[in-house]
Assembly symmetry: C2
Homo-oligomer: 709 residues x 2
């Protein structure tokens, strides 16, 4: 393992492993950190001990000794949706539990993960493979090692474990997490607060969002994790965060601890060039077509609109992400800089005969791998959209693979197809009953089939061509597939999980037939190809990272959903010539935007805002107003959503909830001048709670006055 703690190119770049912090102690002190770096690195004490994960998409933190948890509003939308119907639409209206008894169960899929152990398992994983292990086998052996480690870890009751890979497989860590299964809604603001500005303001600054909510962890009376029960009691976390009533000022040191999902900071220049030239433009084009279909369907009925709201959000967000990246690729030097970095690496490798011998072939092979990925890209992505967007096809394919994987011993099955996954898969089938909208599904599948048909001949999928031809073309295929929707209810899908592969291979269900054709005729083989590539990656990437770290002084691993700490400052930025963005927004700005949806701020908050704000405990004299959102230089990405923003003393000052549009390419390259995180100021959260009938919840929080400012 090789980590260089030299001067950083960018002061605020870096998603640090907690264990890296002590080595950065001096630098952190200069930046403004006031707690010892050793304390900050200790995941078994505050503040890191209070940081939790909500799964793959969000972070959160304990805010009281009674299991109160703060996160983003958009991180609990599923829980709110579960508690919404025509009469009580909590996803729109929000919810205030007036007491413990009124706290609402978030439903059977709501989860929280409290990390209670991180172990370096690099040696355990690596001893499975040798330098001469074939690539295809290498991937499987590593997967098997991981699954064994997870299975052993999950011997602990109520644990959900994972093995994370760092620096492209240079290191592995086993992360042990207590799984809390009874999560209840304590407070959620109205959608018009938590999602103020909706898609228009998404990724944008200046922002005026109250994107925060409060939930509570419940456990069995004996303290063990348990599914929802009336008898459950609030969980007593080992640590919870203090809240700094004085908030932040421009220039203040801040940090964020959370679970960033994934970044591509060390990808090759060629892969960024492909994103800029092909994959993102193609993604934008496809997303625009998909959105047109979803929006047209959504306009047809309220029922359709309710069901399609979420996918419109996802696709819209993905579109904005790709378009924002493309804008950044055009508007900044990201692509050229990346190429320069690659050229530098090549020059470094070639400057020394031994380096040339070790790393030269690595760079060549990485290039060849990227070329191979590119050659299959359009085919894979288009088919991927088809099997994702056509819910029935997605289910049929998952079931067929389920029956195939079930033939193997549990530990040899692919991830997502082990016994530990069964309940989740069934729960997902059940949940789809509430969300599927087949008229849209059908049109989207038609779109993707048409696009697959239009691909160059060498990228056609013969099995699919034959299937479609048999049914008289795309229209005939769609007619056949959507003829009998009784074939495809949730109970039916779940029952089929116990069928044998041959039962499915001879099924009359056209969805199963299509799934079998695709799996046997293309996907299984394609996956095997990708496994070989993954194995090659496991062999090459550690060497690539080794060369990169020696030549270029980068020091933190790419984000991988594991706990990270990032440090920086409250700071505005200049998005374009003659424009400067201040780092704080205010209640006046929120009120100025108020009007029609998505700016339909609730009356009670507008009335409160119209009162004498100087009297509010959350008034900031420097701003002359109650603060709402703020910007920081913190290095974050998806998965950091809901992360607690902490001040120099490790006290909470906000909720991280977004990045900025101008730096959407930050997943590839961090740009000091432009990359910013966007936070809900904790004082706005407290102001909203006080003025939205939820002031009583403040009583259980540890709000500290801090120094007078």
């Amino acid at each position: 393992m090789l980590i260089l703690l030299s001067s950083l190119a960018s002061a605020d770049e870096g998603m640090w492993l907690p264990e890296q912090l002590p080595g950065m102690s001096e630098q952190l002190t200069v930046m403004g950190l006031e707690v010892p770096a050793e304390q900050l690195a200790d995941t078994s004490s505050a503040p890191l001990g209070a940081i939790i994960s909500l799964g793959e998409y969000c972070s959160a933190s304990f805010l009281s000794a009674e299991g109160l948890v703060g996160t983003n509003h958009h991180c609990v939308s599923g829980l709110l949706q579960y508690n919404s119907d025509a009469e009580n639409n909590r996803a729109i209206d929000g919810y205030v539990a007036s007491d413990r008894a009124s706290e609402l169960s978030g439903g059977p899929t709501a989860r929280m993960y409290v990390v209670d152990g991180i172990e370096d398992v690099t040696e355990v994983v690596n001893k499975k493979v040798r330098r001469w292990t074939k690539d295809a086998q290498r991937y499987e052996l590593v997967e098997q090692a991981k699954k064994e480690l997870i299975a052993e870890c999950e011997q602990q009751p109520n644990h959900r474990c994972l093995v994370s890979s760092y620096y492209g497989g240079q290191q592995y860590r086993l992360i042990s997490r207590l799984e809390i299964k009874d999560v209840r809604i304590v407070y959620a603001p109205a959608d018009s607060v938590g999602n103020y500005g909706d898609e228009i303001d998404n990724w944008m600054w200046p922002r005026h969002s109250g994107d925060f909510s409060l939930v509570r962890a419940y456990v069995a009376p004996d303290g063990s994790s348990a599914e929802y029960s009336e008898d459950n009691v609030p969980y007593s976390p080992p640590h919870h965060l203090e809240i700094a009533a004085e908030g932040i000022d421009d220039g203040d040191f801040v940090m964020v601890a959370g679970y960033p999902g994934s970044t591509y900071r060390y990808r090759t220049a060629r892969s960024l060039q492909f994103a800029a030239d092909v994959s993102y433009p193609f993604g934008v084009e496809l997303a625009e077509e998909i959105l047109a279909i979803l929006r047209a369907e959504s306009d047809k009925s309220e029922d359709a609109a309710a069901r399609l709201r979420a996918p419109i959000g996802w696709v819209g967000n993905g579109l904005k992400y790709r378009q924002g990246n493309l804008d950044a690729f055009t508007g900044t030097d990201v692509v050229a800089d990346k190429q320069a970095g690659w050229d530098e690496l090549v020059a470094w490798v070639e400057a020394d005969p031994i380096d040339t011998k070790i790393y030269g072939p690595v760079l060549d092979e990485l290039d060849a791998m990227q070329a191979e990925t590119e050659s299959r890209y359009l085919q894979e992505v288009t088919l991927g959209y088809a099997t994702w967007l056509a819910t029935d096809l997605s289910n049929a394919h998952r079931i067929y693979r389920w029956t195939l994987e079930r033939q193997k011993p549990d530990l040899e099955r692919d991830r997502g197809y082990q016994d530990r996954d069964r309940d989740r898969v069934a729960a997902r089938f059940a949940q789809q009953e509430q969300t599927i909208w087949r008229p849209a599904d059908r049109e989207l599948l038609g779109l993707m089939l048409g696009r697959l048909e239009a691909l160059p001949a060498d990228q056609h999928i013969a099995a699919l061509d034959a299937f479609v031809a048999d049914l008289g073309g795309i229209d005939g295929t769609l007619d056949a597939l959507y003829a009998d929707t009784a074939l495809v209810d949730s109970a039916g899908w779940t029952a089929l999980m116990d069928a044998s592969p041959s039962e499915l291979q001879t099924s009359d269900n056209p969805w199963i037939q299509l799934a079998v054709a695709l799996e046997d005729g293309f996907l299984a083989e394609n996956r095997a190809l990708k496994d070989v590539q993954a194995g090659a990656g496991l062999r090459l990437n550690p060497l690539y990272m080794e060369a990169l770290l020696q030549s270029q002084e980068s020091v933190y691993p790419d984000a991988n959903n594991s706990l990270r700490v990032t440090v920086g400052h409250v700071k505005g930025y200049s998005p374009a010539d003659a424009i400067h963005y201040a780092p704080n927004t205010t209640l006046s700005g929120m009120v100025a935007k108020a009007g029609e949806w998505p700016y339909n701020a609730p009356e009670n908050l507008l009335e409160a805002a119209a009162g004498d704000r100087t009297k509010s405990g959350w008034y900031d004299a420097d701003l002359g107003d109650v603060p709402v959102n703020f910007l920081s230089t913190l290095d974050s990405t998806g998965g950091n959503s809901g992360s607690a923003t902490l001040n120099a003393q490790g006290q909470m000052v906000g909720f991280l909830f977004d990045g900025n549009y101008e730096a959407m390419s930050a997943d590839w390259v961090f740009d000091d001048a432009l990359t910013r995180s966007i936070h809900v100021d904790i004082r706005y959260a407290l102001w909203v709670l006080e003025n939205d009938g939820a002031g009583h919840i403040l009583d259980e929080m540890s709000i500290v006055a801090g120094t007078e400012r």
Copy 2:
């Protein structure tokens, strides 16, 4: 006459008459003016002696002793259009005259006006009327007085005079102007410089426009004004401006001298409320419909696109103006402030029995007049659009009125129908041959006829209803009107100017028939009603202004196309919470926007920008770049376009060319925090000239180095 020079509510508000400046001397010195106010007020010396008018829409200034004139690019678009054809499209490509001989005639309608006399004629005008003169007669008598003054003034050869009214008729001035008729193009940048950003950037900041051009005034060899002739020589203006090479910095004192068109600063609260509630929303709706038609037609052919480009620009600009006003009415306190001002005036009037007796009835009558205006508004405006947009109807109506007015002695005719107007009217007919696009005209007329038909019964125009019914409805009417376009060529229209009214009344030409029906059945009567109202206004407005000036300390008259000076500073602004706009833009910002139309910056300038800018004589060390545009607090409006921006020494530092979107309501209310003028930095103009093959033109300018900064 009553002018109070007390403390101003707003430091930088005010479009001052030159003669007001000496009285403000102390205040001007505090603000930063460095030349004596008396010198600044003297229109017969520099700098005001160098300021000229290009007619109703633009201002300009002399920049050399050889008649070189600087103004906005958009102010000379007609001259460039006149010199454009398929081969040489100077409107798009720009033009550089390499020497005097290559300077291009701007065509027979190009004009410049050099003011050589301003005389207070209030008494001459007012002695025509008595307090008991009836309103209808009052208007006519005042008009007659003005026409007599103008006719007398125009006894001077080559003069075009006008009588301007100030403070709603409290004062009148006769303005004597030398008319220069040979105007030649010296330099125009490409459209992609002069109009960089087109409609997207129109009214917007940050801006990167090179909206300037250079023309030259030519006169006969004996120095008298003359139409274009090869023998003409450059005009020697009595004064021209010095150019300050050091440009401006944030916070610097600046001023602008020019001819602002019209403002509504003293209109009643009710009239602003009507604009906010009815007239602007209606204008926006109508403009959107008109634009949809124009754009659809424009997409059909290149010929259509070329002809419809100008009207699309006008209608789009009007739409943006009204929408911007509505946005400002919603986003600021303009409407409420205006109402508060009115309430204050009413309270002031009612506080004193004598004031109540004098001014009470005035306010009541103004209110009644506004009510009357409102009752006819939709009908008048819709018909107005019909007679404007349907070119043939516009011409037919102008001709019919021409024949009617010709029956009266010249001085009794309405403005626009006197002998002095004949050549212009004929020239306009000729020019229309290049611009009319009947398919669009037809659709637009249909739109307006449909809208008139849809008005409530009491707002129907009986004569029009009958005309349309006779032809079998709107479609039949359009078919009949557009059946034979040979009826309506320019020569035909011009010939008809010599017909008698009765010849027209019995004409077979359906356009003439429609014009006669509208004029005899509605417009003549409607105009008489409006003349009564105008007469009432002439009686009431001076008293209203008198009350207003006594109660509210406003001190400058509304803009009226006469020469004004406005003073202020270089200053940015905050358009919304957390956003600050710096007052300067730079070459880097121009380059950052460069790409497809409307940001298709020319290659030669992009190449020049890519060079070492620090070596440029126009580099600003504080900005670290060559400046492009800047913002000031100067109070300006349409008509100020092309005005020279002057520094504290009266040297030229830029060209005013726009106002900002957020303060579009500035025509109603000046807002210190938001109202800004936008200028081309003179250093950008000089940089463009140097790098666009026009550096030789700098030799004849008086560029002064100024103090080192």
